[in-house]
């Protein structure tokens, strides 16, 4: 009897834990919506989404267009993916296929530790190292631009991509590789023609998760991308991302003002983007697991 009571209490505790997490997530989402909605009493949704000028403190006519920041976020993120995906998959293939067990045992934890470097440190690297380098190559006055941000975010997304892609490659049944090798395929042909296609959904999912991290990253891009309030036209233009805008302005805004609510609306937009990216990666990952079964 007591044993059953104990079981029930433990069951209840775990249930409460789960509930708490879900409640917290829902709470954040609701808070975002509730705080963001009042912004749209004064700002038209079309202005918010489709105009490029963000000038909430203007005396004459405050404007709240996130298009330029949205473009900045997407530019920096896409650039980061362009750099991180090939390098990440290449490294994962190396770790899964070529590296000796000892190298793998050392390299994989090291890669995963890379994920733990504080973003402010990466941003610092961007200012003192990557920025000047970019400036010299493209002959710009300083290197604080979208490309700099992309390089740094690529560094931050790499651990996720490498680690999960390697897992996906290792999950490919040995029988596929044996079949390929037995037909006279070389090791690299096997990796490229059999293993990577078979692990593709896992690899895509890892890239999406890396992308999710890149989109939401704040401190690094705040420090390294120049924070210019204008529509970017190329990778060497300075940009300001959605996250950087919130981080810069939220501390100084008057509580309850339209500007205040508008910043939450920016947060909501960001939330929706990352949510969709994560959802997509989840769907792909799920499909992948079904295939492997």
């Amino acid at each position: 009897m007591i044993k059953r009571m104990k079981e029930k209490i433990i069951h209840g505790l775990f249930f409460l834990n789960g509930l708490l997490v879900i409640a917290a997530l829902l709470g954040i989402f609701l808070l975002l919506i509730v705080t963001a909605l009042p912004a749209f009493k004064e700002i038209r949704l079309s202005e918010f989404l489709f105009t490029a000028v963000w000038d909430p403190t203007s005396y004459a006519r405050p404007s709240y267009g996130i298009l330029a920041m949205l473009a900045g976020t997407l530019l920096v993120t896409c650039g980061a993916l362009l750099i991180a995906v090939p390098i990440g998959i290449g490294t994962a293939a190396y770790l899964a296929e070529v590296a000796s067990p000892r190298v793998r045992e050392i390299a994989k934890p090291v890669v995963e530790v890379l994920a733990g470097i504080p973003s402010v440190v990466i941003g610092f690297l961007g200012i003192v190292l990557v920025g000047p380098f970019v400036a010299r190559i493209f002959h710009t006055s300083n290197g604080l631009n979208a490309l700099n941000g992309s390089v740094l975010l690529a560094i931050m997304a790499l651990p996720t991509i490498i680690s999960l892609s390697e897992d996906a490659l290792n999950a490919v049944p040995v029988s596929f590789c044996e079949a390929s090798l037995a037909l006279g395929a070389s090791r690299w042909q096997t990796v490229i023609l059999v293993k990577i296609p078979a692990a593709l959904s896992g690899i895509i999912a890892s890239c999406m998760l890396g992308m999710g991290r890149a989109i939401g990253e704040t401190m690094t891009v705040l420090m390294a991308t120049g924070c210019a309030q204008a529509m970017p036209h190329s990778f060497i233009d300075p940009v300001r991302t959605l996250t950087a805008t919130i981080a810069i302005e939220l501390g100084e805004v008057a509580y309850g003002s339209t500007h205040y609510y508008a910043l939450f609306a920016v947060g909501l937009a960001l939330f929706i983007i990352t949510f969709m990216v994560n959802l997509a990666s989840d769907v792909i990952l799920h499909k992948y697991q079904n295939v492997v079964k």
């Binding site: 049944p173 044996e178 079949a179 390929s180 090798l181 037995a182 037909l183 006279g184 070389s186 078979a198």
Partner: protein
Amino acid sequence: MKSVKIIKISAGNFSFWYGAMKALSGISMDIYENAVTGIIGPSGCGKSTFLRSINRMNDLIRGSRADGAMLLDGKNIFEPDVDVVELRRRVGMVFQRSNPFPKTIFDNVAYGLRVNGIKDRNYIAAKVEKSLKDAALWGEVKDRLRQNAFELSGGQQQRLCIARALAVEPEVLLMDEPASALDPTATLKVEELIHELKKKYAIIIVTHNMQQAARISDYTAFFMMGELVEYDQTTKIFTNPSKKITEEYITGRFG
């Protein structure tokens, strides 16, 4: 089979280790062209190791080591100048569990050709058709070559794997219990196929199934504890084995 017997493969005092574990010790046997050689023996006796030594598939296992000679057409395949990729093209393999790639039926068969650098589409198409016909699968799949290979039944998948191995025109075909995961009808089809294929290839088949070994093989080798106990014509092994332990195994007293 009384005509001239050509030796295709010859193992000479061949031993194999997985790390410190000796899996094969001092195997010496000749394997003939255009014949089916069956390898029987209890689990863990080294018969799969022997089979996988002939195309050096065990190279993939770290810490494995071979000693002695394994001659293919008189050339030791464990010598350092041997191109393993080329060896595996000459010595095809069919695995215990059918393992088609997650690709279309056509691409599965074409894979071996493509990795060997063949680009001529017409040639590939003709070769795929021929291989599927040789594997007695063409009639069942000719209208759905673009379907995923996983949609085939287990028996069809295994015949697809045989077709895939045939496409690269190997000289030897290694089969590791190719029918153990198949139902009786599919098994019969694979056995008939093996009977056809031996006209062109040297076939070596590992099997747990005594009746199967007796039915399809011309020669039978009995392995135990990593050693070759007895090797002779199948009729001799199954009717009048020279060693008592062979008889005990064949009659099912152990194993």
